[in-house]
Symmetry: C2
Subunit: 209 residues, 2 copies
Amino acid sequence: MRISKEHDVRRNEILDKAAGLFEERGYNNTTVNDILREVNIAKGTFYYYFKSKEEVLDAIIDRYLEIALEMAEAVKNRAELSPAEKLLQVIIGLRMGSPKSEVIQELHKPENALMHQKSIAGIVMGLTPIMKDIVQEGIEAGDFATPFPEQTIQIMLAAAFTLTDESMFSFSQEGQQRLIQALFYSLETLLGAKKGRFTSGLQELTERM
Amino acid sequence: MRISKEHDVRRNEILDKAAGLFEERGYNNTTVNDILREVNIAKGTFYYYFKSKEEVLDAIIDRYLEIALEMAEAVKNRAELSPAEKLLQVIIGLRMGSPKSEVIQELHKPENALMHQKSIAGIVMGLTPIMKDIVQEGIEAGDFATPFPEQTIQIMLAAAFTLTDESMFSFSQEGQQRLIQALFYSLETLLGAKKGRFTSGLQELTERM
């Protein structure tokens, strides 16, 4: 028990320090030796946890995915929220959690395109079952109506993560705002929700931000 | 005039032969020297047209984009088709044109993730103005109703290209079919088209295939 806890603590320490270095000097300019020095461990210890620097970045991304999924799961279980409020909360949580982080910025560099692609697929597939449950709850409550609860979530997530990705698309600020409005409008329309259920929440949201 | 034509012919010959080699032995296993031998040109001639092997792949992708855009433009101008039929034709044309091609398969290899990402952004941004014009035509004819003609196209294209990309997502055959249905249903719903306008066309389409 104690050993397993120590294992996780050490592993997380390596990930934290590595994430710090990636942010500070960039992923490509950081070597495994830099990480060893920062964490103050021997090469053998590092390779006990990770096969390579790539695996470290992969694990950092996985940790972000886990955090996002835990957040979504927690929102899903908040009984005081309506299904539409839950979906909005998850979306807000994703926006807060990811785009500012240094590691996600790292993903947007050309040399990390593969990991970037993997992370989009990972977050879409990870969030789908949780958000589908929320949609299902909304259908049962009579708030939503769609023959494709699961696919609607996948379509909206894939479109949102791809189009708001500044390493792939660069819209003007006005274009970006219009796109966000269109995404919420599309979610509302595809879920068969009452008009304004998501788009008015968006207005509130942007006013508060 | 003659020189410029020769220039294009030679350039296209290099692209054709290179595409053949990429298909035959893979992009990473093909060298610039292999291309020189296949086209029977000197190194200097190659570098007059292209800076690197990467630039050759880039140009091959650009050529596919051009073909796709010309196809979409031609469909847009076919006066005998309704706006909904035009959108369906463009979508069918994209499916015919791209996924079987050897170069698109090349894009799905891990080492070509960046070019892959660029090609998704390129095709979405390239098709948007043409398909938006068709949507606009449908709005004026009273067939469609949406406050977001441009963004609806972008959302649907980004979702479709991302989710049907087998290097990112792997659905079961049943899951894939359900996703395709959901994509057409979503297009129909977001464009405010008459129920069945796209989904019944889809049925016909799959029956013919």
